[in-house]
Symmetry: C2
Subunit: 334 residues, 2 copies
């Protein structure tokens, strides 16, 4: 049985929603749970749930890293922060994966310091797939771990994304696109333009620069960007999901009777909302480190935690870390 460490204190709705989701997720996915945080807070929350029959361990961690903290300083100084302790459980082989809905930067830095990167990879990157209904055949890397990158790091993200798409998503020769401000070869900011020839010279199935519109169109299986742009992409997609659901309902309400809206339209929109809901799909995977780290949306509620735990279990079973390590070496040495 996989053992999943959950950062009980990470996220806007921690600890209540996190622990509620962790209990439900552990029951559904049949995993053992390590809840990391201040024991008295976790015990109080646990008492609200029926955890009978579950393998739940409380792992004490007295400190919390807030969303407003600088991640580097926070991880360095708060040795007893929940995300730090949870990541150490993975390093020590006590947990198979860590799941957090907390500070993405803090989770990234913790993974970087505690787990270390796979040889040849400089920075971990957040890989998001099946995100917001965009489809099962596209992943975005980096979804927010690195606000500043070097051209070589973008190439490393592309390689990791390609290995992930091929070996985990099962896409042969996945197409890789560099997210830019135009599809012409000479488009891009300085870093992108310097990365372009590196991609071109690589063994990746590189299709060149792609534009924002190509992401939902599924033109590339792997969309490569820095984490700043990746974050804007994800958050804008979220906002436009809300915009469209509202606009479609408003517009159709003018044209259709209330009974049709109730019986057919609103249920159809609810299905579209579910396909695009970050509360369901809002978890990414940190690639490039020696351990499994699943990072969810800060606004996640219990349902997202349930799905993140299911994702963590399946990634552990697929030995994603070993797969990325082998795949990276195969491409780097070829």
């Amino acid at each position: 049985m996989e053992r999943i460490a959950v950062d009980a204190m990470g996220g806007d709705h921690a600890p209540h929603e996190i622990i509620a989701g962790a209990i439900r997720g552990a029951r559904r996915a049949q995993v053992a749970l390590l809840l990391v945080g201040p024991p008295e807070i976790i015990e109080t929350e646990l008492a609200k749930h029926a955890a009978n029959g579950l393998d739940v361990t409380i792992v004490p961690a007295e400190e919390v890293i807030a969303m407003t903290e600088q991640p580097l300083a926070a991880v360095r100084h708060k040795k007893r922060a929940s995300i730090v302790v949870a990541t150490e459980l993975v390093r020590d082989g006590i947990a198979d994966a860590v799941v957090t809905m907390g500070h993405t930067g803090a989770a990234t830095i913790s993974a970087l310091f505690i787990l270390g990167t796979i040889e040849g990879i400089e920075r971990p990157a957040a890989c998001l797939h099946q995100y917001f209904g965009i489809g099962p055949r596209t992943c975005l890397i980096d979804g927010g771990a690195n606000t500043e990158v070097r051209p070589e790091q973008l190439l490393q993200f592309g390689v990791m994304g390609s290995v992930f798409a091929e070996r985990v998503l099962g896409i042969p020769r996945p197409t890789v696109g560099l997210l830019s401000n135009g599809e012409e070869d000479n488009k891009g900011n300085q870093v992108n333009r310097a990365a372009f020839p590196l991609f071109k010279a690589s063994r990746l199935n590189f299709i060149g620069n792609i534009e924002g519109r190509d992401i939902p169109m599924g033109r590339a299986n792997v969309v490569v960007s820095d984490g700043f742009v990746g974050n804007v992409v994800i958050k804008l997609t979220e906002g436009l999901t809300e915009w469209w659901l509202h606009a479609v309902e408003t517009e159709l309400s003018k044209a259709l009777p209330e009974s049709t809206m109730r019986k057919a339209v609103r249920p159809a929109l609810a299905r579209l909302r579910r396909r695009n809901d970050y509360a369901e799909y809002g978890a990414g995977l940190l690639l490039g480190v020696n351990g499994l780290c699943v990072i969810g949306h800060g606004r996640s509620k219990a349902k997202a935690v349930v799905n993140a735990i299911r994702l963590a279990k399946s990634l552990a079973q697929a030995d994603v870390v070993g797969t990325i390590r082998d795949g990276w070496l195969a491409i780097a040495n070829s």
Copy 2:
């Protein structure tokens, strides 16, 4: 009567759609037209349209700048490029505005070299408003003119956007947000983090960092970003518009009879498409230069040119250039 110079050779559908749109636009907006490009090509296209009663002048320009060219080199070497000659007409007071659907970078560099920037402003920036149905009370600056910026330039974009929102859109004390990867003060890449205190210390109605989701939510009247990120925002919005229109139709088709789809749903979706169509609203305004320059989407067809001409006329009537100059001085000297 306003005189509008149209770059007849700019855009994916030039010259056919551009000239068709220019003729229709001139008739509707009641402006005089200066069509800039190779005379024989323009004359051939003009012959397809009824231009009787219109004030149309052909201004010869033998060269064209392609989308694949590096803008700086292209503008320097092609003295007779259509966008260069069209911009010179504005400088010389022969035209009140230039309209182009061509290379954004080439139009920006032409404006920078030929018109020059307003004193105190280092770089022109593309200001987009009422774009993709996001609402009449939000503008995005920079929508794609500058892929690389300095913190001071972001502040200048913010000031220009604020003056535009206040004096052209009529929004008192417009809210200004810095597009970032989180709403906390310490979020951002290096340039954003360095710009943050400049915004904080300015006289702008600065509401801090905003996220991608805040754009369609209308949290800020002025969204400030570099042109690389701004371009990704615009193109992703386009792609998601297509995604949503398709997804809603597919989902509702399963739940509603074909007659309802035909009579009510598809017309409603068509209305939403129009509100979000870059072919209708795909034009931005270059702010910060001593002249009016309206830049449309490269994929623009005739309808977008019609709207761009209408926009150019209203901006000329509102004396946007003088307004930005005065507004900038008022804020800079206060």
